[in-house]
Structures are given as structure tokens and as C-alpha cells.
Point group: C2
Chain length 255, copies 2
């Protein structure tokens, strides 16, 4: 039995583990080894602003971390997570069942490159934490699942932005976490597909260090007006988590 | 008589003033009212990396602040400042004479839009602190000179980047200071003209505040690889200048 009396029977396989998300009693099923969600996904869930009643789609949802977190953080009406890797889809579906959020959250196996499988102009919000690394650069890891989640093996940045442009309603919002090294690719591709970049937030390990995570919001058919938020620092110079990161991780009762 | 025994006779008009640049005894002639150089230009002069013997051109040089500072900070062989406003050209020329740097620094009246007047592939470095504000946005100021220096009245971002692409040698470097709000325009236009963005530095008033100045370096025909430097903070949280800004302004003896 878990906290809250949830039974693990039928939910967890021997090579899997449960991560306590520290929010509303939510848990996430992950492989003990293999791709595990990181700080990036948690920061994206905090960065995304989702209106009550919105229809939201998460592209490349992996183990479903974004749909599960956003079910608690937002009043979205429908949250759909799309993932191409069947074992990840299976874990994400079991996490949804375990957390008893299947009324609002659905996980589907799907290929982002297969654009016509997705209905046009039918979502208010896209979230995505896509593979960061261009094929041909970066070190490939040994596990295939890690590789697909980290490298653009099965979909490129352009696939993700192109599909988002198709499925977002006019004025719909796009929230992505990515690497600062890809900034030029990101904003040029977004503009090309008429998802105008509207808001940036840089995440730095410490105030004196360069950013290592980029959060970006775009608006379908939006006008050109980019704002930049104050930076998010993960650690203070003394090595302790900042108050803001503690709030995002639910470690303190934030306002 | 100035410090160092320079005579002001013939250099300064009644409505002009001399700014002590706190470096190598350099001074700059400016109008008492009208467009005056700001922190942006000083930060750009610090950001630009110029190899010994380089041929450098500063586009929209204004009163010549960049050529004058870079004459002291670099071992560039030739520094040419281009400016369209005759009264600014006149002040910049007198500043060059006053500082006795006319052996390496030349100021010319010229129009950046008149591209064919500039020789192809003949400069190693472009620096530019162009007008920031798109026509039709922002408040217009009353003085015409201020207006031309701040708004894209006489040249646009695309004019500046387009000319830079023409006059830079392959591998030549482009250093610009601009506003964070224009980031998307900047990187998309640079990539379009094959001046690939290679390095970003964000300048924040304080560590907890959003950036208000953007420093960007591009490389003519460069490969796609963007790096971001640690941020530059102008003030500490306690309101005092940071050590780095004091170093840039020559207020301390920096390494």
C-alpha cells in the first residue's frame, strides 16, 4: 500500500520505481534505469500558463510527467499526452490510472511526424519537452529509450513545431523547454511556422553561471513582441536551492 | 588646457561638452543636449574581441564612442566609423583629432542603406550599436538627432545586418548591442544573411531583474553553435556597481 491507501498491485513491474511528485499525492512510474524525467519537465510545468477549461496536448510525453503534473497545477479540461515509445506509453497510462486522473488525462501512442493523424486547430495549449540534441552531435547513450528521448532520432525540432502550428487554435499557446544552444534554431523555426516567440525564461544553475535550460512560450499567429522574465536560478551561490525552486518542487508552502 | 596638456582651442563648440572616458586619457565630444553615448556602447566595446592587425568598421558610429574606445582597447590596424548625421560626423572627427588617434581611426559620413558604396568582404570585424526601436513603436523624442539614433528612421536592423554581411570577410566577426525585445528579429535576420549567431550575453540591471541589454556576436558563414556567457549584472542587489562593471568603466585596475 502507498500513502493514501493506493494499491500497487497491477501498477508496477519489477524493473520500475515510483517517484513521489510532492504534489497532491501524485506519483509517477519510471524505469529504475532508462530515461527518467528531470528538472526540465518540472520547470516547464511551472512555466506553462493554462486557462480553466483549456484543451491541452503534450507532445512527446515520455512517462507522462507533464500531463500528471498539469492535472494538479491547472484546471485544463482535457490533457492528452502523445508518445511514440510503447513502453513509455504503457508506464504513462498506468501512472494516470494509479493517480485516478483518467477523467481529464489521456495518454496515446502516436508519431509526431504523422501530422495528418492530428486534427487541425483543435488545442488551446501545446506543451513539449522534446529531444534536445541534433542527430550527429552529442554523445549517444547506450539504452535505446534514452537515445530516443534525448536525441532527434524519431522527431526533430521542426517536426514538433510544425505539428504544433497545425493543431493549435489561432491565439493558442505553445510552451517548450529546450537547451540554450538551440535558441537560434528554435526562434527561427517558430517564426517560420507562425508560432511567434512571446516570452523567454533562462534557467541558470547559479546567478554567476551561464544558463543551461531555456523556457519559451509562443503564440499561434501572435504579433512580434518578445518579453524576457527575470532569470530562474536553481542554486544560490552558497549551494542551497533557491526559494523559487523549492516552491516549484513543493518543498515549501508557497503563496 | 585639459589633462595631458591638450588644448581645447578649435575642438569644442559652445553647446558641446567633453566626456572623460576614464581610459588612456581619452575624451569624447558630445552635445550638452542631444543623443549622448550610453552604457550600451561601453559594454559593446568590452564585448567585442578584436585581433591584432584587424580591419574594423563601426556602423552608425554616432559621436565615435566605439572607434575611440576600441583604439585603446584593441590592436586593430584600421578602425573606420560610419555615420549619416553630419553634426555627429563632425564631432566624431574632432574627437579623433583631439585624442591624436587619426593614424588608426577614420570617421566618414555615409549611408548604411547605400550598400554598393561599401567594398565587399573587406573587413574582419563589424561593431554596431544601431537604432533600437522599430518605426511605429515607442515614443518619438523631440530632438531630430536623438530620434535618428534611437528609432529606425534612417536604417533598419536588416539594413545593418545586410551591409555587414556584404562587407565582412568569410569568418569575419559581427558584434552588436541591442534590446532583448528584438532578439527574434535579430537572430532570424542574422541567420538569413549568413551571419550565424555564435555568442550571447544578457545584461541585467540586477541579478533578480530581467535583462535590458543584449550583446550578440555573429560569424560570417559560421556553423550553427550558439554559446551564452554568464550574465552581466550592472548593479548588485545592494545598489552598488558590480566589480565587472567597475572594471569595464576603468574604475578599478582590473587584471
Amino acid at each position: 500500500l502507498l500513502q493514501g491507501g493506493k494499491s500497487l498491485r497491477g501498477f508496477l513491474k519489477p524493473d520500475e520505481t515510483l517517484e513521489d511528485l510532492q504534489r497532491d499525492g501524485l506519483f509517477l512510474i519510471q524505469k529504475k534505469s532508462g530515461f527518467r524525467f528531470g528538472v526540465d519537465a518540472v520547470l516547464l510545468a511551472d512555466f506553462a500558463r493554462v486557462k480553466e477549461g483549456a484543451k491541452l496536448i503534450d507532445l512527446g510525453t515520455g512517462t507522462g510527467i507533464l500531463p500528471v503534473l498539469l492535472s494538479a497545477k491547472t484546471k485544463a479540461k482535457e490533457i492528452l499526452g502523445i508518445e511514440i515509445q510503447p513502453d513509455m506509453v504503457d508506464m504513462a497510462k498506468r501512472s494516470v490510472a494509479l493517480n485516478k486522473i483518467s477523467g481529464r488525462v489521456t495518454i496515446q501512442e502516436g508519431d509526431i511526424k504523422n501530422k495528418t493523424a492530428f486534427p487541425k486547430a483543435s488545442y488551446d495549449v501545446v506543451t513539449t519537452n522534446p529531444p534536445y540534441i541534433k542527430l550527429g552531435s552529442g554523445m549517444r547513450t547506450s539504452s535505446e529509450g534514452k537515445d530516443i528521448s534525448r536525441h532527434e532520432v524519431l522527431c526533430t525540432l521542426e517536426d514538433v513545431v510544425g505539428l504544433s502550428a497545425r493543431i493549435l487554435s489561432p491565439g493558442g499557446q505553445f510552451f517548450m523547454v529546450h537547451k540554450p544552444e538551440r535558441l537560434v534554431d528554435i526562434v527561427c523555426i517558430m517564426r517560420e511556422y507562425k508560432i511567434e516567440p512571446k516570452l523567454l525564461r533562462w534557467v541558470h544553475p547559479k546567478p554567476t553561471e551561464k544558463p543551461n535550460i531555456l523556457l519559451i512560450k509562443g503564440c499561434k499567429n501572435g504579433g512580434t513582441e518578445l518579453k524576457t522574465m527575470p532569470p530562474l536560478y536553481v542554486f544560490n551561490e552558497d549551494g542551497r536551492y533557491t526559494d523559487e525552486v523549492n516552491r516549484i518542487y513543493g518543498r515549501v508552502n508557497a503563496p
